[in-house]
Amino acid sequence: MKHIADWALNLATMRGAFYADARVVDERSRALSTKNGRIGGASDSESLGIGIRVLADGAWGFAASDDLSRAGVAAAAARAVEIAKASARVKQHDVRLAPEKPVTAEWTTPHKIDPFTISVEQNLELLLKIDAELRSVTGVTLAETSMNFRREEQWYASSEGGRIHQTKYTAGAGYAAYAFAGNEIQKRSYPSSFGGQWQNKGYELIEELKLLENARRIGEETVALLKADRCPEGALDVILESSQLGLQIHESVGHPIELDRVLGMEANFAGTSFLTLDKLRTLRYGSDLVNIVADARQEHGPGLGTFAFDDEGVAAQCTPIISNGLFTGYLSSRETAHTIGAARSGGTLRAEAWNRLPIIRMTNISILPGEKPLTLEQLIASTDHAILMQTNRSWSIDDKRYNFQFGCEMGWEIKNGKRARMIKNPSYSGITTEFWNAMDAICSRDEWTLWGTPNCGKGQPQQVMGTGHGASPARFRKIKVGSAYKGN
């Protein structure tokens, strides 16, 4: 495949490209699911193609094709240059790329078991067992399970001499139980909502998740929610378990720190950001306990944002985003680095597939665990009155990322250090910086999980990307709770 990328670069350069890079991507995926004891879906898919990105006349062009014949690649390269020259008709200045030393490298996601070597029968058997266990609880009216695997092999080449061959494995699995009665539908998911837990790992992830062991509990909680009390309204302390805190980070830290958003490049669709450039190293984003990094390196863990090089050949890095509460960093690319005075890209440009242009994406945006030992049970024990919220059910935030509202599947009212009663339909809302400044406790490393968000949408045409979010449970003081149902 390497020679195909080389053809593309030669042809683009001959046509007048000042810079070019090409990615040949061969992707394979498998999706299995069950619903109420039957196979819901069983599918394999593969996709192979090339994406060619060029700079000509100071502007960008990109063309992608599934035709990897010499003629097909030549046509795509010529189209990319033609498009770049058309782009140059509407520009205010030439694109500048931060320098990056080209490298030749090979990298594969560390994994123990290639998920495609595990038989489909074995996978379906596990899903059907979980499905049966969920439905063994009286009152569960719908059970859904799923398991997904992906292998993406990419050959990257640039006109500057970069040659990088990366193979990434992704695994994900989870399930949900629903209970319908009267005028309500309740739901519980495991390990998290929207497809469960996802990481850049092999089949070993499935073995680690203890899926079957938790199914009965999840079914029982689903049914119990029907009889639980509604979430109270008011300014209350909130404890978020780690998957919900992961999504809170995604929406109220991960997106606003994308430098393309900050610079207005996403204004028409995803929006802009309240984190204007003047706020770098001046804004108190959160309390002293808030330390958040963007870390794509392997040593951070097997997150969906872990890689060796991004899709413009920049090595994975760790960028401090919030340091003891102070806003300290953005997610940047070679094109945007100069706007924050950086000599080098932060290495965050990624594309969903061969037919998409790489754009700035979250890597693993993680809150660092507390340094003092603190378990969730100890945090609860130290809390007079709060609502503990678990597993996301709804999420929404404005287009500058100030005002957010989250709903969770289940809550517990904490009173005098103990779980006093189960709460249904819990929700909370607020303003991003006010919320993070209200954090007064975070659990330590033992409670920290690197969650995967497989469905982050951004860009036009829209691209769906996986991002990682490490988090421990944390407590926030005097948060607006329960307004999702106010007035309805």
Binding site: I39, A42, R89
Partner: protein, 461 residues
């Protein structure tokens, strides 16, 4: 590029390799391009072409799908084998029906208006750039910053199966979306059509610019219940959240807000909704994921939920269920997704009925004593699946209306509103138009004036 002959040739090669009881092939492909601009500059500009072949095999009640974009003989053999291997290892599903045959799929086919336009298919990157240039020039003249997209595509899809189904559909599409940004405000417009000649980027840019200018220096007004005037894009982005619940399988699964509500009056008398792929303002192919023709289905009449849509297997299942006498006519309607799937079906070509006395947005404003004019909504999510409470934000042009006039721009609101309540409180409606938003698929919807719309919070801009 995919054409009818090439599609038929691919299917014949697949059929030769197949050892299954039945085999089906879904193909889609095409060319698309998108010119994206921001900061008055074309900053991203892309084009792609691809052809995808998806094979479904059936062995005695067991089915699975495999998909590839590699079209050489060896790859096609491999994709057939992959779908067969996945199917063979399953337990038989007693609800799986034989594939539709040509006779079943031939009934009630509605002829479509033209949806393929050479002018759209042939547009060049230069032509898109020149259109963007005009939008940017208008922005610069008003000291605004323009951002948006101009996209075009030519796509084909086909479905064949071993029981004689052979359908083909080709269409073009074009879309323009424009945001005009001022220092503390913004305005937005979006339109699309199969025929690029019907799009007017300069006019859309002008409306977006006007909204940005008029909403400058937004004031904060308190959250609460307001009369709102929702422009069509705002209506569609809200309404789109309920149509997944109009599938028969959603009722059988008890995940629909229509469970136990079909046949009841759920919305106001003035709400009429149908699904109609052949409507002149609609788009898309006339067959579903099993090759069944899409039927015209009245979903809501005078506020009463009348009917659901069905894939073939869902209709058969519903006939045997306790719900069968409470959900209106039960029959395959041509709204199924490609099999196998968990969702069953959904109506995707929605058309709201025109009111007896349509009002323009200006007339709605003129009749409003105190209210809020909403251009667009954003990040809508479902808070409660049965009461259909949705949350989200206003965006890109939110105005306070008093004494029949737009007074000034206001800071954006968060809403938590039940869609059932919203469609019960529609006081006035416009003539339905083809609208396009960001949260839902395109549909034919009117602007609406809605009473008691529930804003719960105000953001900082």
């Amino acid at each position: 590029m995919l054409n009818k002959d090439r599609a038929a040739d691919i299917f014949s090669r697949i059929k030769k390799s197949s050892t299954a009881d039945e085999v089906e092939t879904f193909l889609w492909g095409g060319r698309s391009a998108l010119t994206r601009f921001a900061n008055n500059t074309i900053h991203q500009n892309v084009a792609e072409e691809n052809v995808v072949v998806s094979v479904r095999s059936v062995f005695g009640g067991r089915t699975a799908r495999a998909t590839t974009n590699k079209l050489d003989d060896e790859s096609l053999k491999r994709v057939v084998q992959a779908s067969e291997n996945l199917a063979k290892v399953q337990q038989p599903d007693p609800d799986l029906l034989p594939m539709a045959d040509a006779a079943e799929a031939a009934r009630s086919v509605h002829p479509l208006p033209p949806r393929h336009f050479e002018e759209t298919a042939a547009i060049t990157p230069e032509a898109r750039a020149d259109a963007v240039k005009k939008v940017v020039a208008a922005a610069l003249k008003r000291k605004l910053t323009a951002a948006g997209i101009f996209s075009t595509s030519e796509t084909q899809e086909a479905i064949f199966n071993s029981r004689g189904i052979a359908h083909w559909h080709a269409q073009t599409s074009s879309e323009i979306s424009i945001t005009m940004l001022a220092p503390d405000s913004s305005g937005w417009q979006k339109a699309n059509s199969p025929n690029v000649a019907l799009l007017d980027p300069a006019a859309l840019g002008e409306v977006a610019a006007e909204k940005a200018a008029k909403s400058a220096a937004p004031r904060e007004i308190p959250a609460g219940k307001y009369t709102v005037i929702l422009e069509p894009a705002a209506v569609l982005d809200m309404a789109g959240f309920m149509f997944w619940d109009f599938g028969g399988l959603a009722i059988l699964d008890q995940r629909s807000f229509l469970t136990n509500r079909v046949g009841t009056k759920l919305f106001g008398d003035n709400i009429n909704i149908r699904d109609d792929v052949a409507h002149p303002l609609q788009s898309g192919s006339p067959f579903d994921g099993e090759g069944m023709p899409r039927q015209r289905i009245p979903l809501v009449e005078n506020g009463v939920v009348k009917r659901l849509v069905y894939a073939r297997a869902t209709a058969a299942k519903m006939q045997k269920s306790e719900h069968k006498d409470k959900v209106g006519p039960v029959e395959p309607t041509g709204h199924g997704f490609t099999l196998p799937n968990e969702m069953g079906e959904a109506p995707m070509n929605l058309v709201f009925g025109a009111p007896r006395d349509p009002k323009t947005v200006e007339q709605m404003i003129a009749s409003t004593e105190r209210g809020v004019l909403v251009t667009r909504l954003w990040y809508i999510r479902e808070v409660d699946p049965y009461e259909k409470i949705l949350t989200g934000m206003t965006r890109d042009g939110t105005f306070y209306v008093e004494n029949g006039k737009v007074q000034y721009g206001v800071r954006n609101f968060r809403f938590n509103e039940s869609l059932i309540k919203m469609l019960s409180n529609v006081q006035e409606m416009g003539t339905p138009v083809r609208a396009s938003g960001e949260e839902s698929f395109d549909m034919v919807v009117p602007a609406m004036k809605v009473g008691e719309f529930n804003f719960t919070e105000v953001t900082k801009f």
